[in-house]
């Protein structure tokens, strides 16, 4: 402690501006520039009040002051509408709790409630200090730097190439551990981030653990939702809570954490009771007919090594790509002297166990309801029907079942999503009009691999094994993981246990807040204390900021110049945006404080570190990177517009080159974008459905998930070779049970909670808090809304449960999981399953110097587990529904 203090004191010696301490209040706002008086101005904006961040806005200024943000009525995808967060963005700009100038900590002691004794410094001083430390880290081992990003800052294009140029593999997203929803769509659709419903055509939609938009008020999602409901789409919402969406459709209450049982039960009914599936699709567009050997691998042709299918007419096995008169979907045969079964049969064998009565015992949804839903789903699928779009004939399947984070975020969660995929494949609705579509790049991405099945993409591509691991989030052990800040923190705290042969020496936070966004926030606080040097590219005095050594203040969203490619949307799709290729501009409002654009910070840091230019430098990496989601349709450095890696550029120059090289800009640049605020290009509608690129039997979706098994087998072999156990889990089978090629029931550790833990805590996103973009929880306009909302920042309980526990509306209660304890005021509500304890949003925590609004309310994440045994071994997802006990808080008289 003393040594560090001396170290700090030495650093401040001679700094000219070292006397001013951080005081959030009172704060004098910058005077209005007299030149701006009487001026009115409208800027093109691009909202950044949620993860999607694609609503086109108009930002109105009077006297140089921002007076309102409105949706741009001309521009997709919101066509003038907005959400409460987007309408509140200006209060996030005029936020006195923002970090307003570079600062350096003087107090070596760190904590959420410890005053860092900030000293204001100049930008040069701050940057030099950071660079001096980063240089040392880089010389020692570049892996020692963690670059943590998150929803607070999705407007940077240079963060990733900065990390690459620095040489660290440790770019970590702070947000994803409670949103591990990506692997199955990467495996089955070659898509990312999830699969969504086609709301233009869908007639029967089942949704679990997710939102179509209204629950957390995304403007485009809500628009599409309202239109679909109006035209009569039947909506079935399987959820422990009668959400906004459930209230517009049919609510099927379910016990928290048990969606896998419901899905297995539904698939069972479809396979064994309804027995009407899209046989053509299964035979021609899946690997369901592939013959599976006793080893679980495909039975292969001895000459070519190709997987075999059974030809029913000729009564023989043939490679999948041979001419078939009639492909056998079922059957057991002896091939090459071994007994093989059709993949379809192997799946059926497993699913035969999961009767709706069995499912009801676990998930509480009545067996008759599961039967009815399965039947209705198949009836609405119109199996065999087609639709013509732009002269191209597609299968037409106006049904979709979609799952997301509250289904997938627990041990066995990957299987829940994969079971959903099987349900969809049984009606043949993958990537066809009306059906279940991935929401990434539209184009020829579902091409077959050498086995004839869709080549996995995105997170379904396994990260290579290496021992000792390089990656602080242990991607080597969770090859299909999403972001893993929760694993990273464990490795940081106990590197030896996690096989790391290096230490984390520095940490840069860029809009990432792993403390607020994950299980066990206080574990992260300990991690932050352990890391020798922490820097925040900081917007406001949030948890990572107060634990930092240096604060590099950044612009708020409205102040950030930005040009972004419009991503296919995450909640749903319809004809308002399908086929749309667009780039959108945000013209920055005048900056209020001594802040910088995050990308200018990365440019400065890289230049001072000597990694901006030259081979392997930031520009070199930027030149060679391709947009992760939208690939060649994203904004990349293309052809003649690539950067000269030996000179420095301004951000605007770089972006101008990206626009000029964008395939749909027609050579236009930044100047042209300023005309309308966006450049839109509509592709033919048929090209929106990825079936178009590989129609008929040109590709096959995995129905029997051999890809999962193979990755598991390889990982197991690697662990055995190195004579190590899976980090944090001694029993290897506990992990590899999740890599079996056929989904099966997985009981999470929460099902075996000790007596007394009789309820399950659940959480959902709200219109006021969807993702931590721009500190929405601290926005006082939104706070006024959530403080009046009867279901916000309270503990929701079904009346029967409340009565059983002798608890009344308004009582203060303690909620205790095996991992943490919180308290709150009870709201008795019929909208909740009797086994659920409902806690919305992401309230609580905050810091000594943060907006006090950030300190209010129950912090749901405190109840969650950081124990690997509760994670999904494939995706690394944390369990979002822990078992809890709930009791009245004793009030001192």
């Amino acid at each position: 402690m003393l040594k560090r203090f001396i170290d700090y004191a030495r650093r401040f010696k001679g700094l000219e501006s070292n006397q001013k301490a951080f005081k959030p209040s009172p704060y004098k706002w910058k005077q209005v520039d007299p030149k701006e008086k009487g001026k009115r101005q409208v800027l093109y904006g691009l909202c950044r009040a949620c993860m999607q961040g694609d609503c086109a806005t108009l930002v109105y200024l009077e006297d140089g002051i921002i007076v309102k943000t409105e949706g741009n009525p001309e521009a997709p995808p919101n066509y003038g509408s907005l959400c409460p967060r987007g309408k509140s963005e200006l209060m996030g700009l005029y936020n006195p709790y923002r970090v307003k100038t570079p600062m350096v900590r003087a107090n070596p002691e760190k904590g959420l409630d410890v005053d860092p004794m900030w000293k204001e410094v100049t930008w040069d001083e701050a940057l030099d200090l950071v660079v001096e430390r980063l240089k040392n880290v880089r010389e020692k081992d570049p892996r020692g730097l963690v670059l943590c990003e998150g929803w607070g800052q999705r407007d940077t294009i240079l963060r990733q190439p900065f990390g690459q140029a620095f040489g660290t593999p440790n770019e970590i997203g702070s947000h994803g551990a409670l949103c591990t929803v990506h692997y199955p769509s990467g495996l089955v659709h070659a898509g990312y981030p999830v699969a969504i419903v086609d709301l233009e055509y869908c007639q029967y939609h089942i949704t679990l653990g997710r939102s179509l938009g209204p629950n957390f008020a995304t403007a485009p999602g809500t628009r599409k939702f309202a239109r679909a409901i109006e035209r009569g789409m039947k909506l079935v919402v399987v959820d422990p809570r009668s959400s906004y969406e459930a209230s517009k459709g049919e609510w099927i209450p379910i016990r928290p954490g048990s969606d896998l049982a419901f899905l297995l039960g539904m698939a069972h009914v479809m396979l064994f009771e309804v027995q009407r599936y899209d046989v053509w699709f299964l035979k021609n567009r899946t690997n369901a007919p592939y013959l599976i050997g006793p080893d679980g691998d495909y039975c292969r042709d001895q000459k070519t090594g190709k997987p075999l299918m059974w030809e029913a007419i000729e009564d023989t096995a043939k490679p999948f790509d041979a001419e078939f008169e009639d492909i056998a979907l079922t059957g057991t045969h002896t091939v090459n002297g071994v007994e093989c079964r059709a993949g379809f049969d192997v799946v059926c064998d497993e699913f035969s166990k999961y009767t709706p009565e069995w499912a009801e015992g676990i998930c509480t949804v009545p067996a008759r309801t599961i039967r009815r839903i399965a039947k209705e789903f198949v009836e609405h699928a119109r199996i065999g029907s087609t639709i013509e779009i732009d002269g191209f004939t597609f299968p037409f399947r106006p049904v979709s079942l979609n799952t997301e984070r509250n289904v997938t975020n627990r041990r066995g969660g990957t299987y829940a999503d994969l079971t959903g995929k099987i349900i969809n494949m049984l009606v043949g609705n993958i990537e066809v009009p009306g059906g279940c579509l991935s929401c990434s790049f539209r184009g020829p991405i579902m091409g077959p691999d050498e086995d004839g099945t869709v080549k996995p993409a995105y997170e379904a591509v396994p990260r290579p094994f290496k021992y000792p691991p390089d990656h602080i989030g242990l991607a080597e052990f969770y090859p299909h993981q999403h972001t893993a800040p929760h694993i990273a923190i464990k490795s940081i705290l106990d590197p030896e246990k996690y096989y790391l042969d290096y230490l984390i020496e520095a940490y840069i936070s860029v809009g990432g807040n792993p403390i607020k966004m994950n299980a066990q926030p206080h574990a992260y606080v300990e991690g932050f204390k352990k890391i020798p040097f922490v820097v925040s590219v900081a917007l406001h005095m949030d948890e990572p900021a107060i634990l930092s050594d240096v604060l590099l203040p950044e612009h708020s969203a409205l102040e950030r110049f930005r040009v972004a490619a419009f991503y296919p949307q995450h909640q749903s799709i319809d004809d308002e945006v399908n086929g749309l290729k667009m780039i959108q501009l945000r013209e920055p409002v005048p900056r209020l404080f001594n802040t910088k654009h995050a990308d200018d910070i990365f440019t400065e840091l890289a230049e001072r570190l000597g990694i901006l230019c030259g081979e392997g430098g930031l520009y070199d990496h930027l030149n060679n990177n391709i947009d992760w989601v939208d690939k060649t349709d994203g904004l990349n450095m293309n052809g003649e517009y690539k950067l000269d890696i030996n000179r420095k550029y301004t951000l605007k120059e770089i972006v101008d080159r990206q626009i000029r090289g964008w395939p749909y800009s027609g050579g236009k640049g930044l100047k042209d974008l300023k005309e309308k605020g966006y450049i839109a290009h509509w592709k033919p509608r048929k090209e929106f459905y990825n079936y178009y690129y590989f129609p008929d039997d040109k590709t096959r979706h995995p129905f029997y998930f051999l890809g999962l098994k193979k990755v598991g087998d390889e990982l197991r072999a690697n662990l055995l070779e190195h004579n190590i156990s899976f980090p944090g889990v001694d029993d290897m089978d506990y992990v590899f049970d999740l890599y079996r090629p056929v989904p099966h029931w997985v009981e999470t550790p929460e099902f075996r909670a000790p007596e007394g833990f009789d309820l399950w805590a659940i959480n959902w996103k709200t219109p006021y808090y969807s993702s931590d973009a721009g500190n929405v929880a601290g926005n006082p306009w939104l706070a006024e809304l959530y403080s009046k909302d009867p279901y916000e920042a309270v503990i929701c309980l079904n009346p029967v449960t409340a009565q059983r526990k002798n608890i009344k509306d308004g009582d203060m209660v303690i909620i205790e999981s095996r991992y943490g304890k919180i308290e709150g005021r009870v709201r008795v509500s019929e909208l909740f399953h009797p086994d659920a304890v409902g806690i919305s949003g992401n309230y609580g925590l905050g810091t000594l110097q943060s907006n006090p609004l950030n300190r209010i309310g129950p912090n749901f994440n405190t109840l969650l587990s950081l124990d690997e045994k509760t994670f999904d071994g494939v995706s690394g997802g944390q369990d979002s529904a822990p078992r809890v006990k709930l009791y009245k808080k004793e009030v001192r008289k």
Binding site: A217, Y244, P767, E784
Partner: protein
């Protein structure tokens, strides 16, 4: 010409965008909302649902607030908009009590949204229009109507649940919606003849 609004309750998802859009349009001080959404439950588990009821000034044609105003500060325009002349308002609050929709608020104080801090530049600019000790409410965004724009809440609503138009014109969208879906005002029995109609409740 009679301005009116139709709110489609089957579309409303209770997100509160209207509340904030209104706040942003008018720059209302902390604690003042012209445009609210009430949330309530109907039914019992397992068929319970959450319902939403957006409430704003109903711009009644026989307004209870107008009748009780002693100074003539509250007045009704020919186009049906009910307004308050703040120069004439003496802050007696009779209208606040009289309004059956709780659509009026008395400005006891002009509060800022970041308590304990100096007002933001936005608030300094916008709060010039507010006078402590007077009553405030929705004006149907008259300042926007005069510029040919729709009210802020209508434009912003992501569910497109709000329609605005002329009730005197039988062919207008609002008239047709009211006719087609038998639109009714909230608490019609009070006889105040509101200009806000609800459909598909």
């Amino acid at each position: 010409m009679r301005h009116a609004m139709v709110i489609d309750l089957s579309r409303c998802v209770g997100c509160g965008t209207c509340t904030v859009a209104c706040r942003a349009e008018h720059g209302t001080p902390a604690g003042v909302s012209y445009n609210k959404v009430k949330k309530y439950e109907v039914g019992k588990y397992p068929t319970a649902k959450i319902k939403f009821l957006p409430i704003l000034c109903m711009h009644c044609q026989d307004p209870a607030c107008l009748k009780v105003c002693p100074t003539g500060a509250t007045y009704k325009r020919e186009d049906g908009i009910v307004l308050i002349d703040h120069d004439k308002c003496i802050g007696c609050r009779a209208c606040v009590v009289a309004c059956p929709y709780e659509s009026r608020q008395f400005l006891w104080d002009i509060r800022n949204y970041y308590p304990g801090h100096v007002p933001t530049p936005y608030e300094v600019l916008k709060q010039k229009d507010f006078e402590k000790g007077t009553v405030v409410k929705c004006n149907f965004c008259l300042q926007r109507l005069e510029e040919g724009q729709l009210p802020a809440c209508v434009v912003a609503c992501p569910a497109q649940a709000r329609y605005f138009g002329d009730l005197d014109d039988p062919e207008s969208e609002v008239s047709r919606l009211i006719a087609d879906y038998r639109g009714t005002p909230f608490r019609e029995e009070l006889g105040t003849q509101p200009s806000i109609y609800y459909v598909k409740g």
